[in-house]
């Protein structure tokens, strides 16, 4: 059975279409990733699936229940670790977890044990009895994650779970998320704009851009779909068409295109093809001023499908900034 079924889902805010005819399914026990830049519609999709928003049209079924008609049943089986930090500043870490346990009607003794477990896991044991207002941004994020794990949901939604965290913590969280899937068979839906995260973690990835899903597959197949290595060239030319034709004549070249002042070429066996290509161009009098060769990566996949680079760096900075604003507001 599919854990999540989404059919032609649309959500618009006034004129803005945040999610545009998205369709996909997530299998039980699958770790499914939503990869997209800021404003792509990731959080909006999660908010619909977790019953916080009503879709404008289309259908979404989570754990066999319709998110609109059977919202209460959906809420019983899901967990959400939201993008923005929502733990209560005025309570301690432990109290936040026990509050969460109360919301899900866990028995107190079991909840206490479980809280200790998840605090240990996320390295918060020492801070457990401190008020959250004394926590750093990363600690809050970890506590948020701890809360989401308290009640063992069947389907866990993680909205940018590692945003703003250091490399060590990110790796620890990846390992734990994998463990949840492997050992408990939890279905996990996560969003990210970190390519490496999507690649390392997810069984399958949907790439979402401007509310549309542009590709869905395993990271491996997505990379394979590029058909080989990517070579980008800056070439002196009068007419890009001539250059493209010239490159296309080479046997191991699968595809060539001119975009943003660069020739982007997909080739087999890049290491051997590159010298050949340079030679061919030079012989016809085209001077090559710059060459970049890239192995297939999700970054390239993203560029291929959207025509734009996904700048994880910039995104994470903006997000980190936004988070800080929220924390400050909370403290004010």
């Amino acid at each position: 059975m599919s854990a999540i079924i989404v059919e032609r889902l649309v959500k618009s805010f006034g004129k803005l279409i945040a999610v545009n005819e998205a369709s996909f399914t997530v299998d039980e026990g699958e770790l499914f990733g939503f990869l997209g830049p800021n404003g792509a519609g990731k959080t909006t999709t999660i908010n619909i699936l977790t019953t916080l928003l009503i879709p404008s049209s289309g259908k979404a079924v989570v754990g066999g229940f319709d998110v609109v008609a059977e919202a209460e049943k959906v809420r019983r089986i899901i967990g959400l670790v939201p993008q923005d930090i929502t733990v209560d500043d005025d309570l301690t870490g432990m109290e936040n977890l026990m509050l969460h346990a109360g919301l899900y009607h866990l028995d107190r003794q079991g909840a206490k044990r479980r809280a200790k477990e998840v605090l240990e896991l996320l390295n918060l044991t020492d801070a457990a009895n401190r008020k959250v207002e004394t926590y750093s941004g990363g600690m809050r994020k970890r506590l948020e994650l701890a809360a989401g794990l308290m009640h063992h949901p069947d389907i866990l939604f993680l909205d940018e779970p590692t945003l703003g965290l250091d490399v060590q913590t990110r790796t620890a969280i990846w390992n734990y998320v994998k463990k949840l899937r492997d050992e408990l068979g939890m279905t996990i839906f996560l969003t990210t704009h970190y390519m490496d995260e999507a690649d390392a973690l997810c069984d399958r990835i949907a790439i979402i851009d401007h509310g549309r899903i542009v590709a869905i597959d395993t990271p491996k197949s997505l990379k394979n779909s590029l058909g080989g290595d990517i070579i980008e060239l800056e070439v002196m030319h009068n007419n890009p068409e001539d250059v493209v034709q010239l490159i296309n004549k080479i046997d191991s070249v699968k595809k060539a295109a001119f975009m943003d002042g660069l020739f982007r070429v997909t080739v087999e066996r890049g290491e051997e093809t590159l010298p050949m290509m340079l030679e061919t161009l030079l012989r016809k009098g085209h001077r090559v001023t710059r060459v970049i060769m890239k192995k297939p990566s999700l970054e390239e996949v993203f560029l291929e499908y959207t025509g734009r680079a996904l700048r994880a760096e910039q995104g994470s900075w903006e997000e980190a900034f936004r988070q800080r604003m929220i924390i400050q507001r909370a403290r004010a």
């Binding site: 019953t51 928003l53 509050l99 009607h105």
Partner: protein, 290 residues
């Protein structure tokens, strides 16, 4: 049903923890009424103003003195309910209802913060009943209001207010009246606040409602001293009924009027039932998804 009780217990626990752990906030909410009490109650001694000076009385013939005394008593009884009441005691009792007003308002409005800081979303994705969210907010408003009202009453006594309860049950009657008032007011403010998205609109709403509700009531001045249009407003203001109930039970001593008290409690019960009912429904709608 058991679920709802547990949920309310958990959520109310959170509210109250947040409250009693910030003594500064608690202090700030009672400091305002206490200052009002000091400024108005002590400086503006209305009953003192109406008193005829002793020397003047001594110069008059005895029958005129007794006439004036009778006149004075009638004026005082007419305005303040009994002749032996000093203004400070009179208004400090009114202040208790004002404390309830301020506290119910500020605690109901915390739902704006819960939304802003995302905590509300945490509740909304959980299986917690929407009603439990609202009811726990209302109850936290009531608990805070009553505790703070008692604190202010103790401060008033320390500052020299003289109360004469009608009987051993009178303080309980006064607290019941304040509880009913707080139930209605908390529900009212939550159903307003649940629609507000920003802290600014919250402040604007508070400022818009706070002072008119306070001044258009008998908390500070007798209704009879007001112009007719204000009297009309004051006589439908639930605060007036709570103030009167507390005055009847704590201030009037033997001259307490049972019928007035029954009318007050009746009106307050109606107010609380109506606003809690409607408020929970309205607030519930406000929590629906967009």
């Amino acid at each position: 049903m058991r679920d709802i009780v547990v949920e309310i217990y958990v959520l109310l626990g959170r509210e109250l923890k947040k409250w009693y752990r910030s003594p500064f906030l608690l202090l700030m909410t009672i400091i305002q009424p206490v200052i009002w009490m000091g400024l108005f109650g002590k400086a503006l001694n209305l009953t003192g103003l109406l008193q005829v000076p002793e020397e003047l009385l001594r110069q008059l013939p005895p029958d005129a003195t007794s006439l004036i005394a009778e006149l004075f008593n009638k004026v005082m009884t007419n305005l303040f309910g009994a002749s032996g009441i000093d203004y400070f005691s009179y208004m400090s009792v009114g202040m208790l209802s004002i404390v309830v007003l301020f506290t119910s308002m500020s605690s109901g409005m915390t739902i704006v913060w819960d939304r802003r800081l995302g905590f509300l979303n945490k509740l909304l994705v959980s299986p917690v009943k929407r009603g439990s969210i609202i009811i726990s907010k209302v109850l936290s408003g009531v608990v805070r209001s009553i505790v703070q009202a008692i604190l202010v009453m103790l401060i008033a006594i320390a500052l020299g207010a003289r109360y004469s309860p009608a009987g051993p049950l009178a303080p309980l009657v006064a607290l019941s009246a304040l509880t009913l008032l707080s139930l209605g007011l908390s529900s009212l403010f939550i159903s307003i606040a649940v629609r507000l998205r920003s802290w600014e609109s919250q402040m604007a709403t508070i400022n818009l409602l706070n002072l008119p509700l306070m001044f258009a009531s008998n908390a500070l001045y007798p209704i009879k001293m007001m112009p007719a249009w204000l009297q009309a407003i004051a006589s439908v203001n639930p605060i007036s009924y709570a103030v009167d109930a507390v005055r009847q039970s704590l201030l009037m001593g033997a001259s307490m009027s049972i019928s007035a008290l029954l009318l007050d409690i009746g009106a307050l019960t109606l107010f609380a039932a109506l606003f809690t009912g409607v408020g929970v429904l309205v607030a519930d709608r406000g929590l629906r998804r967009g």
